[in-house]
């Protein structure tokens, strides 16, 4: 597609439930990133996928968070047993290999609210 697509755009869930957030990167972009942005805060790195290499999961805040990516396309971020502190906007971005310095293309994010 023309841009990075994320779904759903908004998600309200009850504490303790699992949620899945989806990201469709730009076609041809081998690198994919997930960030979390709490209200009024900067972006917090979560995970990075590059082609078939092992992902960098160093930013995942707890073992309740996991992410998968199918080849060089769709990625899913899963949060198990959601807590109120998980409420944030989850942003996905993609880039071409070698273009990282020039920037990512971000999606509009999924706003997650845990009640």
């Amino acid at each position: 597609g023309a841009g990075v697509s994320q779904s759903p755009s908004n998600k309200v869930t009850e504490k303790g439930k699992d949620v899945e957030l989806r990201c469709d990167p730009i076609s041809g972009h081998t690198a994919l990133y997930w960030y979390r942005q709490r209200l009024g805060q900067g972006l917090e790195f979560l995970i990075y996928f590059q082609g078939n290499s092992a992902p960098d999961k160093s930013g995942l805040p707890s073992d309740r968070f996991s992410a998968e990516r199918t080849g060089e396309s769709v990625s899913t971020l899963t949060i198990q047993r959601t807590q109120q502190e998980d409420s944030a906007v989850y942003l996905c971005a993609s880039s071409r290999l070698g273009d990282e310095t020039y920037g990512y293309t971000f999606g509009s994010g999924t706003r997650l609210t845990v009640v």
């Binding site: 990075y48 960098d56 990282e100 990512y104």
Partner: protein, 110 residues
């Protein structure tokens, strides 16, 4: 990754030039200064990048002095639609783990 420091917020009026300064005292030789813009309910978007001296594109200009310990993003003749958060990053070539601070919240007033 070099730490960057920028003002938390700024107000301006339509038609004025806005300059946002970013400090990056421990910038490395292979770091690039990169600015992102984020509108409400959207992800950040790349606006400009430079290494030294001056870079200009259709959106902004970026001034980087010889010592590269600071940089200034210049937005000419801002409009209400330039109200956004602006992030300054010092990016190492080949690094993918971008560190975003809280940015500068620019409010353009009529």
């Amino acid at each position: 990754l070099a730490k960057t420091t920028q003002p938390i917020s700024m107000d301006s009026y339509e038609g004025q030039e806005v300059n946002i300064t970013c400090s990056h005292n421990n910038i490395a030789t292979n770091d690039y200064i990169t600015w992102y813009q984020q509108f409400p309910s959207q992800g950040p978007r790349f606006i400009i990048q430079g290494y030294k001296t001056k870079v200009t594109n259709e959106v902004a200009s970026l001034f980087i002095p010889a010592d590269r310990k600071s940089s200034t993003l210049s937005l000419p003749r801002v409009s209400l639609s330039d109200t956004a958060v602006y992030y300054c990053l010092a990016l190492t070539s080949g690094t993918y783990k971008y560190i975003f601070g809280t940015g500068t919240r620019l409010k353009v007033l009529a």
